[in-house]
């Protein structure tokens, strides 16, 4: 073989390793040309082919009676009964958001929406899971404001409500924020539209926006560590146009209903390259595509640029032969591009024409199916950082008593936790998102542990009034737990997602996951990834929530000026959807009336000492914020207890007995109680017995324990307690009563340890993030 027509630097610049280049040459039987090299570069990136994560993802449970479409298509689809089919998926846009937060986040939303409506589903909800560094850092504030504005810009304009999500702040994400967006859609076509091309001779249609030089090689960019230079790599970030996307949604759904569309694939990462290769490979056919037909945004583009452009709002269709004009007319009516740019061929290759010559010719499966795979060794022993952290014990904290700890009263500690940005109200964020458009949002953001969206077909109207079904959705990940214990932490993520759904009365159905990790090429990074995948798999099996798809984002590391890479916390975000059979039974987290009894479901105070692994200050928000310590083992999940508690909660809600429900998560029991009180603008009197063998801070702020706080009307308390004794023996306790006024007190063994008002708590909790953002005076 002749020597490569590229320098090692040129090959490396496409994200291709030397041994991968050898592989390409042997597959082609020749050296690739420039365009082909670029195509392999993006398609063999982790972002597109999961070469590091695929062996780990294969352990996920992916099947179940409700699963209609599992991993591998644009999105997963589950059956909700009554002919309702739900498509949903989560995707990351981390690297683009780090470089250009506004467009990076905006196009993240645009991309995940396309995955949904490509299937024939109308998007009905967006959630997002965001991670930023410390808000005390000016650059973090810039990223935070930019990302929120970008999501707001895109989601609001496109007319899909942003109904929920989560935002965490931790120095571990300084310079490498995470922007994960999840979209949910309701199938509007009879048949699920898939990506596999078929029908030799069928025309291939290019629809949507034009192709320009934006977003060149974004997939490769997303699969490498961020560096000083990548901050200058803004051309790798796409620019979104939500107005075009809105028109594209309408035009696509209209087009699918004609029955003239054989297959559809959105152009996301790796644009034309990826869509042609994936459509061809999954259909077992080939595609012949003429770049001269592609509507261009600017003149003078070369094949490499056409093929790697990640211009937004574009799709590729295979149409039924002879019906292409029908489809073109629909897109033109919506002011969108639509041209026949190629055809389906028998030979399983992607053949690209440019100016009458073949510009690239590659076996389709070499790009999208039969791609490299790296099975790496997992560390036999947990790495030193974890072993060190696990040595921590609560005895290392200063002693405490009823008056507080280290000169701080428990009331002060509570207020500190409530004003911690990760715990504080996210109203500064969600007030910028239209969370109501489409008229189906049943729970406003911040109102409950999960978002709840009414299900109804949006076309046609009158017959569905009063339709009572809904879906609930949540995105979750306590990444500090995962960092300190990837296996246990990942199980806890799944448990929390299911718990959040149960708190509105929804039955967990299925999962989409977004694995945000550091470099898998490093032993610790791969250990975190492998252990977390094992934990997610186990969790999803236990809760019977198969994984129907998702996204992998590796190399989330930033290089500091000296070139030392720093990985983010491993962050396996779980997006979970649940079914609500009767919308009228859904509850939120706010107390619903003075005098109602407040119960704790899960590990009661008296059993903390004997369940020290399940209820602990290890990895807690209290430890991090009040003692500046990131250590310990996070609470270990007791699956049997989790399932029992969640079932009791759901049944109580469906029976109309439970009036409010909220899970105890970051900040533990007292923070959860405070959040219920703030939501209701109504206080509570909590009276607890002394907890033998437990420190006060553990009683107040320990996390874990499968805990949910519910309220029940006083006149139903006796019957409810009988139910609890039957269904959850010894795993519940009465905590107190909702007050008439806004006094919030916690007394232990007759001694008041927390005394504050809802007004005081609410002020700090509501304003904490706005105040931090306002610190950015140099705007």
């Amino acid at each position: 073989m002749t020597t490569a027509p590229f320098s090692p630097e040129e090959i490396a610049a496409e994200g291709i390793k030397p041994e991968e280049y050898e592989d390409i040459v042997s597959r082609l039987g020749r050296h690739p040309n420039r365009a082909e090299l670029g195509m392999f570069g993006v398609m063999w990136s982790e972002h597109c082919c999961y070469k590091n994560s695929r062996p780990l993802l294969s352990q996920f449970p992916t099947e179940g009676p409700r699963v209609l479409v599992g991993p591998g298509e644009n999105a997963g689809v589950v059956d909700l009964g009554d002919g309702l089919h739900l498509a949903f998926k989560v995707e990351s846009h981390n690297h683009p958001s780090a470089v250009e937060p506004f467009q990076g986040a905006a196009t993240g939303v645009g991309g995940i929406l396309r995955d949904i409506f490509t299937m024939g589903a109308r998007p009905i909800a967006i959630l997002n899971s965001l991670r930023f560094g410390s808000l005390d850092d000016a650059n973090t504030r810039r990223l935070f404001e930019g990302v929120v504005a970008g999501i707001s810009h895109y989601g609001n304009c496109v007319g899909v409500p942003t109904v929920g999500g989560e935002v965490y702040f931790d120095p571990a994400y300084n310079g490498n924020p995470l922007v994960n967006a999840m979209a949910i859609g309701l199938m509007e076509t009879d048949e699920i539209v898939k990506a596999g091309a078929s029908g030799i001779g069928n025309p291939v249609l290019y629809v949507g926006s034009t192709t320009g030089r934006d977003g060149m090689g974004g997939a490769s960019f997303a699969s490498a560590e961020l560096s000083e230079e990548s901050l200058d790599d803004r051309p790798a970030v796409q620019v979104g146009d939500p107005f075009l996307e809105k028109s594209l949604i309408e035009a696509c759904l209209e087009a699918f209903k004609t029955g003239a569309v054989v297959a559809a694939q959105d152009m996301g990462a790796a644009g034309l390259t990826c869509s042609t290769a994936e459509m061809a490979a999954s259909g077992g056919v080939g595609i012949d595509l003429d770049l001269d037909k592609i509507p261009e945004r600017e003149p003078g583009m070369v094949p490499y640029e056409y093929l790697l452009s990640e211009s937004q709002e574009r799709m590729l269709f295979v149409a039924a032969e002879g019906r292409e004009q029908e489809l073109i007319d629909i897109f033109h009516r919506w002011g969108l591009q639509a041209v026949v740019a190629g055809k389906v061929i028998e030979e399983p290759i992607v053949r690209i024409w440019f100016e009458g010559k073949i510009a690239a010719e590659v076996p389709a499966n070499a790009l999208s199916d039969n791609t490299p795979l790296y099975k790496r060794e997992v560390l036999a022993e947990p790495p030193a950082y974890a072993q060190e952290a696990w040595k921590w014990s609560v005895d290392q904290l200063p002693s405490c008593d009823a008056s507080g700890i280290d000169g701080k009263s428990w009331t002060d500690v509570l207020q500190t936790l409530l004003t911690t940005p990760s715990i504080a109200s996210k109203n500064w964020v969600y007030r910028q998102y239209d969370h109501q458009v489409q008229n189906n949002t049943a729970v406003m953001p911040g109102g409950a542990d999960a978002a709840v969206v009414r299900l109804r077909p949006q076309l046609g109207a009158s017959e569905e009034v009063g339709y009572g079904k809904a879906i609930a959705a949540t995105v979750d990940c306590n990444s500090r737990y995962v960092y300190l214990d990837p296996f246990g932490g990942a199980k806890a993520v799944v448990a929390e997602a299911a718990r959040n759904l149960s708190c509105v009365g929804a039955e967990p159905i299925a999962v989409t996951d977004n694995l945000n990790f550091g470099s898998p090429e490093k032993p610790i990074g791969y250990w975190q990834l492998a252990e977390a995948c094992r934990g997610l798999s186990e969790g999803c099996r236990v809760f019977d929530t198969p994984v129907t798809g998702g996204n992998v984002s590796l190399y989330n590391e930033t290089l500091d000026a000296s070139g030392t890479p720093t990985a983010i916390y491993p962050t396996p975000v779980v997006g979970m959807v649940g079914a609500v059979e009767d919308l009228s039974t859904v509850v939120g987290q706010a107390w619903q009336g003075a005098g109602n009894s407040i119960y704790l479901l899960g590990v009661p105070i008296s059993q903390i000492a004997t369940n020290a692994e399940t209820v602990t200050l290890g990895a807690s928000e209290y430890l991090a914020q009040v003692h500046d310590t990131i250590a310990g083992k996070p609470p270990q999940v007791d699956f049997d207890l989790e399932k029992a508690v969640q079932a009791v909660c759901r049944e109580g809600i469906r029976a109309g007995v439970i009036r409010s429900a909220h899970d105890s998560a970051e900040g533990g029991l007292v923070v959860a109680l405070a959040e219920c009180a703030i939501a209701a603008n109504q206080g509570a009197a909590i009276t607890l017995d002394a907890a033998e063998g437990s420190r006060l801070d553990t009683v107040l702020f320990a996390e874990g324990g499968a805990r949910i706080i519910v309220t029940v009307a006083a006149d139903q308390a006796t019957a409810w307690e009988a139910t609890l004794t039957d269904k959850l023996p010894n795993r519940w306790q009465l905590l107190g009563t909702v007050s008439e006024d806004d006094d919030f007190t916690v007394a232990i063994a007759g001694e008041t340890v927390i005394q504050t008002t809802v007004g005081t708590m609410a002020e700090g909790w509501n304003e904490a993030i706005a105040q931090k953002v306002a610190g950015d005076v140099a705007l």
Binding site: N156, C157, L244, D434, Q458
Partner: protein, 231 residues
């Protein structure tokens, strides 16, 4: 009564309006594509919220040139009822059916929330479902909802009783506030004749208890009563 809902590329509350007029109130409702110009079959025209034509150039600036809007002006001048909600309000001011303009919110952020809105009095058919002075809880969702007009225009609006809805600037326990810096706390106005109304709050989003309140429903019910003779 037959409703028409104008659909621009970029409209996104069009179906929500139809859900109310056709779904809840059982009135015939036609979706009117922006390139249509024959609106003669309609009694009431709703210009819905969204981002017509992407809100490029300026909110509502391009929509005013559409055939459907030109016909809407004719219909309004002939006395038919016209309601512009959010982006629809912006379009009605751009096209000159209503005075003033909607500019960027005072804090420069998009805001989605529930606000307190007080109904003023007057003879406009659009507020006949409400008692003057009543305070409604209505959803808002806009980035450019700050009502502005010159002093003379404002004075004329006030003198003629054309201000129909006002944000409650300081409620007691609900912590209401003017969300966008609108002059005179203006949330919605009508023309002198009272048949054309523009408002930033979304009454169509407050029509069912299951999705956040019913305070907006009386707006549509009131208009039905006002137009359909009793009996």
């Amino acid at each position: 009564m037959k409703f028409g809902v104008i659909v621009f590329p970029g409209s996104n509350c069009d179906r929500d309006v139809r859900w109310v007029t056709e779904g809840i109130l059982q009135q015939p409702t036609r979706m009117v594509w922006h390139q249509e110009s024959d609106l003669s079959d309609l009694d009431t025209i709703v210009v819905p919220g969204g981002f017509s034509y992407g809100d490029y150039l300026r909110c509502g600036a391009i929509a005013q040139f559409s055939p459907a809007m030109q016909s809407t002006v004719e219909a309004a001048n002939a006395g038919k009822l016209v309601l512009g909600i959010c982006n629809g309000f912006q379009i009605l001011t751009e096209i000159g059916l209503l005075p003033g303009a909607l500019t960027r919110n005072q804090n420069l952020h998009f805001v989605c929330d529930h606000v307190g809105v007080q109904v003023e009095g007057g003879s406009s058919p659009w507020i006949q479902g409400y008692k003057p002075g009543s305070v409604l809880t209505l959803p808002i969702a806009h980035g450019e909802g700050r009502y502005q007009a010159d002093e003379n225009t404002l004075k004329a609006l006030e003198d003629n009783g054309q201000v129909l809805f006002r944000y409650v600037p300081n409620g007691d326990e609900r912590d209401w506030k003017n969300p966008n810096g609108s002059l005179n706390n203006i949330a919605g106005i009508c023309n002198q004749r009272g048949n054309v109304v523009g408002m930033m709050p979304h009454p169509e989003r407050a029509t069912e208890a299951a999705t956040g309140g019913t305070d907006g429903l009386a707006m549509f019910e009131g208009v039905l009563k006002a137009l359909v003779p009793a009996g």
